[in-house]
């Protein structure tokens, strides 16, 4: 266990270092730089000053080395776009993305797996067929489409706010009204992100469940007189859930990819939007910090996925 975590920590460190360094160098080597934001008629001195402030007057390698030295002291540089240190900026966006991601994943897991058990354990019937049909439609509706459709419905009916994380009316709200406001804005993007993933979980769980109920050990349990509910939940399910734990790590990547577009469509102030703006403006240090945060989410997610797999599958634990 200790060695596993140590290896994971090492992997996370390498992933973060590679992702942020390559993001920094890519943004630096891209045509055009930050000073384009100053406009075409900016005085020469101001352009030179800005270039010096963001170390653009050094060679890319020298700039990278300087950034590594500073980052080791937890100084990640300034953002030109927001004129602030990138640390708190990215931390705020990361919290928003994490909130969206965790709520969506929890919803997708709960709904997807319980519906999958339901449809997998029954071969026919009106309700299972209905669930299967809805799930097939949802799996064909990636987050880009779900979020657009939900925003359209919200704009048309006004049931939920169509975008953003807080209403613009509450400028200086108390803590409790802020929480209520966020909770009011959360369901739309969270559902848009969760539905396709829930449908994927449902399909996978349904498949493995329908295979599991035909295993000899289930038949043996039937012969011993085990009740139906216990048969499915205690005997068949623990076996059938393993393949899902195996794709859980990959689901984190899908969640991050999906949250980018959901954040964009629903104006959720998360990491995706920040990274896109930073990339387009060539805001080098902001790009690097966003990439580092995304990479750490990914490392954390795959580790959790592997731990889940170890819990569900004893053969993995022994390796």
């Amino acid at each position: 266990m200790g060695r596993f975590l140590l290896r994971r920590l090492l992997f996370a460190f390498v992933l973060i270092a590679v992702a942020s360094s390559s993001a920094l160098l890519l943004a630096r080597l891209a045509p055009g730089d930050i000073t384009a934001q100053l406009g075409p008629f900016a005085p020469r001195a101001e352009v030179e000053n800005t270039r010096a402030r963001f170390d653009l007057d050094r060679s890319p390698i020298a700039q990278w080395w300087l950034w590594v030295q500073r980052a080791s002291r937890f100084d990640f540089g300034d953002s030109f776009l927001y004129n602030r240190p990138v640390g708190p900026l990215v931390a705020g966006a990361a919290v928003n993305t994490a909130l969206l991601g965790i709520v969506s994943l929890a919803f997708a897991t709960l709904v997807g797996i319980s519906l999958g058990i339901f449809t997998g354990a029954r071969s026919s019937g009106v309700l299972p067929s209905l669930v299967r049909g809805v799930s097939l439609a949802c799996v064909s509706m990636p987050p880009l489409l779900t979020s657009l459709v939900f925003v359209f419905i919200a704009a048309r009916t006004g049931w939920l706010p169509a975008g953003g994380m807080v209403s613009s009316t509450s400028i200086d709200p108390s803590w409790s009204t802020w929480v209520v406001d966020v909770l009011w804005h959360l369901p739309l993007p969270a559902l848009a992100l969760a539905l396709p993933i829930a449908a994927t979980f449902e399909r996978l769980q349904s498949q493995t469940m329908s295979e599991a109920v035909h295993q000899p050990f289930v038949l043996a349990a039937v012969a011993r007189g085990v009740g139906r509910r216990r048969l499915i939940l205690r005997h068949a399910w623990p076996v059938s859930v393993r393949p899902i734990c195996a794709v859980y790590g990959l689901a984190i990547g899908a969640l991050l990819s999906g949250s980018f577009i959901v954040e964009f469509v629903t104006a959720w102030p998360g990491l995706g939007r920040l990274m896109l703006d930073a990339l387009r403006a060539r805001d080098v240090y902001l790009v690097a910090a966003c990439a580092a945060t995304g990479a750490s989410f990914l490392a954390l997610g795959t580790t959790v996925g592997d731990l889940l797999l170890a819990v569900a599958d004893p053969t993995v634990r022994e390796q």
Partner: protein
């Protein structure tokens, strides 16, 4: 199920192939008086049954985007003229807008048909390229083994865990933001192929690794077949079924990737109709509620992805689709 999938995909393919003929208007023609105009209604009755005709639309309020139907006008649809299946009279301000108009007053139905060509050509080409690349890498890794296998496998595992959209975004965003359409096509093709190959490679490697030990492969070796021949003529055909399944995963993913990148403004320029660039019109929440027809490309994407999923459904074990 499988039949429905084929029917959906064939319809879309035929529509894309015949786009110039099926489209009533030129995809980039702007009808300046008809911004966000609703779909044109086709009528059959006015004082008795008549050949299908439309009424002209008049702007009632430009600011509220309200239109009035001028009931006194009657424009009979013209069939098989001007190289199109059916049109109205676009030159006299009465175009046939089957799915309404977008923010520049362009015909959404015509753009949808033309956009299908670019979007589908790109995704199909990217699927082909990624599959070829993945098969080559996976085949070599599985057949050669040793350090080569180790390196190739680590690389593909690394690419596999990355969130694809972010990588595509980063790779695209660091190039000049405005590029001509053919350059964008090639660029996205390469980016998509680079992101898609590892999924294919991993499976092909496992298949080649297992098949290599089978008697028929050993026999081929024994009669003096070269490594290349054994790999390409004997081992890789075993992965055919697997490749077909993977292609059904990659195609929707690439359609979505194009749509996503174009939607956020990093894909094709607006003058090139693709399903992604068309969706930009739906990005204005205030207008979206009043002009649901701007969501037409979303419906088209849904139809194709559903068609592919229905096909995959028919071939036994449904594949797991995670990346958007």
């Amino acid at each position: 199920m499988k039949f429905a999938g084929w029917a959906l995909l064939l319809t879309v393919a035929v529509a894309a192939l015949l786009a110039p003929w099926l489209a009533p208007n030129s995809p980039n023609r702007r009808f300046d008086d008809l911004l966000y105009a609703p779909p044109t209604r086709i009528h059959f009755f006015q004082d008795g049954l008549r050949a299908p005709f439309v009424h002209t639309l008049r702007v009632a309020s430009r600011r509220e985007r309200r239109f009035e139907v001028v009931e006194s006008t009657r424009i009979t649809l013209r069939w098989f003229t001007d190289g199109a299946l059916v049109t109205a009279r676009p030159d006299e301000g009465a175009p046939l807008l089957l799915l309404g108009a977008d923010g520049y007053g362009r015909d959404i139905w015509s753009r949808l048909l033309h956009g299908a060509r670019t979007t589908l050509a790109l995704s199909l080409a990217a699927t082909l390229l990624a599959t070829l690349l993945g098969t080559a890498v996976g085949g070599i890794a599985g057949y050669a083994g040793g350090w080569l296998d180790a390196i190739l496998s680590r690389v593909s595992e690394f690419v596999l865990v990355l969130p694809a959209i972010y990588v595509a975004l980063a790779l695209r965003a660091v190039l000049p933001l405005v590029l001509p359409a053919p350059t964008v096509f090639l660029l996205l093709l390469v980016i998509f192929a680079l992101l898609g190959w590892p999924i294919v490679a991993r499976g092909v490697r496992a298949i080649v690794l297992a098949e290599r030990e089978r008697d028929y492969a050993v026999a081929a070796h024994a009669v003096g077949a070269s490594d290349l021949r054994v790999l390409t003529r004997h081992l890789l055909p075993a992965s055919r079924g697997y490749l077909r399944t993977q292609a059904t995963l990659l195609l929707p993913a690439f359609i979505l990737a194009e749509a996503t990148l174009s939607y956020v403004g990093l894909g094709f320029p607006d003058t090139t109709p693709t399903w992604g660039t068309m969706l930009q019109d739906a990005s204005n929440v205030a207008l979206l509620g009043d002009a649901p027809w701007t969501l037409a490309p979303a419906a088209a994407i849904f139809a194709v992805v559903l068609g592919v999923n229905l096909l995959a459904q028919g071939t036994g074990r449904a594949p797991v689709q995670l990346e958007p």
